[in-house]
Amino acid sequence: MEISANTKKIHRNENIARGVIWGFAGLTILILAWILGFILYRGFYSNNVVGYKYTDMSSDVLTLNDGSEVIFIANKGIRVKDLTADSMQELYTHVIRELNKWSDYTEQSVLCQPIAYKDESPFNSSVKAFLLGKEGLDNWKSYTTYAVDSRQMIEKVAETKGALGYIPAGDRNLLTKDVVPIPLRSIQVAMNSEALAIKDNRSFQEFTEDTLKAIFAGKVVSMTSIGGIGIAPLPAIAPNVNRSLTDNWFGPEFIPKQFDTMEGFYDYMSRNPGAVGLVDYTGYIPSDSYETVTVQRRERGMNLDLWFLIEKPAEGNAGGISYFIINTLFMILMTLLFSAPIGILAAVYLVEYAKQGPLVTVLRMGTETLAGIPSIVFGLFGRIFFVNILGMGIGFISSTLTVTLMILPTLVRTSEEALKAVPPILREGSMGLGATKWQTIFRVVLPAASQGILTGVILAVGRVAGETAVLLYTLGSSYDLVRNLHSPARVLSLHLYLLFSEAVSFDRAFATGTVLVIIVLITNLLTRRLIRKNKQMAGR
């Protein structure tokens, strides 16, 4: 069969059109998957580089200057990861008891209760000197409580939430399952000051674990390759460093210069511009000629975990988001309770009862305009009208009413469209059987329109869950659960915004965002199920 030139052209155009359409559709799907994937990935999995003045090596036994070995222990309610040695000093010497919380170390808003021994045994004197020496104190803080021996110390730590204590390493066998030893990082990296000075606009300030390992394996010839000035690094290790830790961490290529005494190590550090030394914090003596440097550590882990969901919220980096989830659901419920009946009935009026004329046209234009107004304008209105003029104050009821007003126009519009889409012959059929107008609307028109109305309601739920601007003005920022209509609170979206704007934590922001995404996802799925049931009945 002969194919004419024109037919060929038509086929070619057809293929081009199909290619373009597929391309754009694919791109859209790709973008959506990328966004959602990125948020969920960052929400569930944290992967951060954090700088510490310590290396990654940790041990639950800390060796003090005089050789005494101490194990720090905490109540098992404390989610202990590895901590730095100086955090123990801080927890024993915090100036204000009420602020002495675990927040900064374990994200738990739990008061820390330090426990010590009163006796003047060499072991206790040594630990006391270590813990209090940094602040130059002679006596334990007044809020410290005391135990007489290791056994009692363990008992006390086991029964007090947030308790922190210590025992000699020799009493390790006394530990019970209610008490956890705290792994501590105490090995620091010191460098000669000359290598750290700014030269030719270059300044070497930080190590990564990899550079540290390379230096101590002798693979770094000049520090220029790791961002410093042109000096060869001279790895050294102080005698107070626990060698079993370093040998494990660095592996067989570990080749530092070794010393018999601490004096020898410090002398070497002071005199060699390229000196890079490992030294345990407990025996570190500051000096002008060398400094400790920051080591970058990559911290990976579960970001959004069960704990984060069920823990009571607290300020800053501590606590979970349980209250915010409840507040959010509560707010969605309340706004729907207010807005759905009003919105649907208004739509029923506009479609079924109102005489189509100028008044209805103006009403329609009004709702359309209101639906398009940025939510922050509604926030401003709510702040002045509900909070000030009606005197409801900043709190749950003011914000719920404002959000209700915000979603009402959209709800009216979508319900209106849904009602209009119901074929007139259904109304005639019902009226022809002798049904009244309201019977027809309630029993035939609304059920037939329910799918469209539900779609509008889902959109509204999404908007309520994601609303921030309105709440910023009307809800406040309390960490508490909504206990009455006037209590200020936070919902997830607002919490997310505040986390971000106050630069508290990206991990928490992403975890909160993920929870929001999941809530909206669940709402959609549930409504879809509802709609499917409805559809089956409607046979469409």
Binding site: K355, P423, I425, L426, R427, E428, G429, S430, M431, G432, L433, G434, A435, T436, Q439, R443, V444, P447, A448, Q536, M537, A538, G539, R540
Partner: protein, 251 residues
């Protein structure tokens, strides 16, 4: 045989357009009255005046009287709900409600206050039997009505109307959206139903009018051109226009 409905000097305006001009007609009990005529002649408009369905359209104005049971249904005191209960209607396109077959049939009785489950069950079965649909749907009476075929849907709508137990059934081109087999079923039904009901049927199909009706009214341009027994209209028309239409010269 008695006169069921009496139409006197009925005029109907859509806004400024006069759609019906001085209609006079008697509809006899237990008979099938067919309304025929070309498109736009006013036959559908007329049938909707009998149960006041035109009330739903804002711009309609009606003058004249329709007597039913001795009362003028266009009297201000006449209750339109009662009227539609007694004069039911089946529409051009099947319009089952988006609910189950059972609920569709029970809809009318329920809105009129019948709540007893056993009574409703009996009524639903009886109505479906009446509409010759029972045997086809008895096993899936609680499944969606929208799942039925077009012909079945139309018989469902008929059953739904019968469940309200009316005196008169109005049918506005009930077979125009159906295939020939379904059409034949509906026609058989009409024949059966006239024993118990008075039927008024609008049809576009002259053969159908000839087959099923006792009386035929020929509408033209909003007037009744001719009204008489079906035999007379088909075989011995008075008006030349009627004859021209019947013989297919226009339409």
């Amino acid at each position: 045989m008695a006169t069921m409905i009496e139409v006197r000097k009925l005029d109907l305006h859509y806004g400024d357009f006069k759609a019906l001009h001085g209609i006079d007609m008697e509809i006899e009990e237990n008979e099938v009255t067919a309304l025929i005529g070309p498109s736009g002649c006013g036959k559908s408009t007329f049938i909707r005046t009998i149960n006041r369905m035109n009330d739903l359209i804002d711009s309609v104005r009606i003058d004249g009287e329709i007597y039913y049971g001795g009362e003028n249904i266009y009297d201000d005191r006449y209750d339109v709900i009662e009227l539609r209960k007694r004069i039911g209607m089946v529409f051009q396109k099947p319009n089952p409600f988006p609910m189950s077959i059972y609920d569709n049939i029970a809809y009318g009785p329920r809105i009129h206050g019948k709540k007893n489950k056993a009574e409703l069950d009996i009524l639903v079965e009886k109505s479906l039997h009446h509409a010759a649909l029972w045997d086809e749907v008895k096993d899936r009476i609680h499944s969606p009505a929208m799942g039925l075929s077009g012909g079945q849907q139309q018989r469902l709508c008929l059953a739904r109307t019968l469940a309200v137990e009316p005196d008169v059934v109005l049918m506005d081109e009930p077979t125009s959206a159906l295939d020939p087999v379904s059409t034949a079923k509906i026609e058989d039904l009409v024949h059966e139903l006239k024993k118990d009901y008075t039927i008024v049927i609008v049809t576009h199909n002259m053969q159908q009018a000839g087959r099923i009706s006792d009386r035929t009214a020929f509408f033209l341009n909003g007037y009744i051109e001719e009204f008489g027994t079906t035999d007379q209209i088909f075989f011995n028309p008075v008006s030349s226009k009627t004859e021209a239409y019947i013989s297919g010269k226009f339409g």
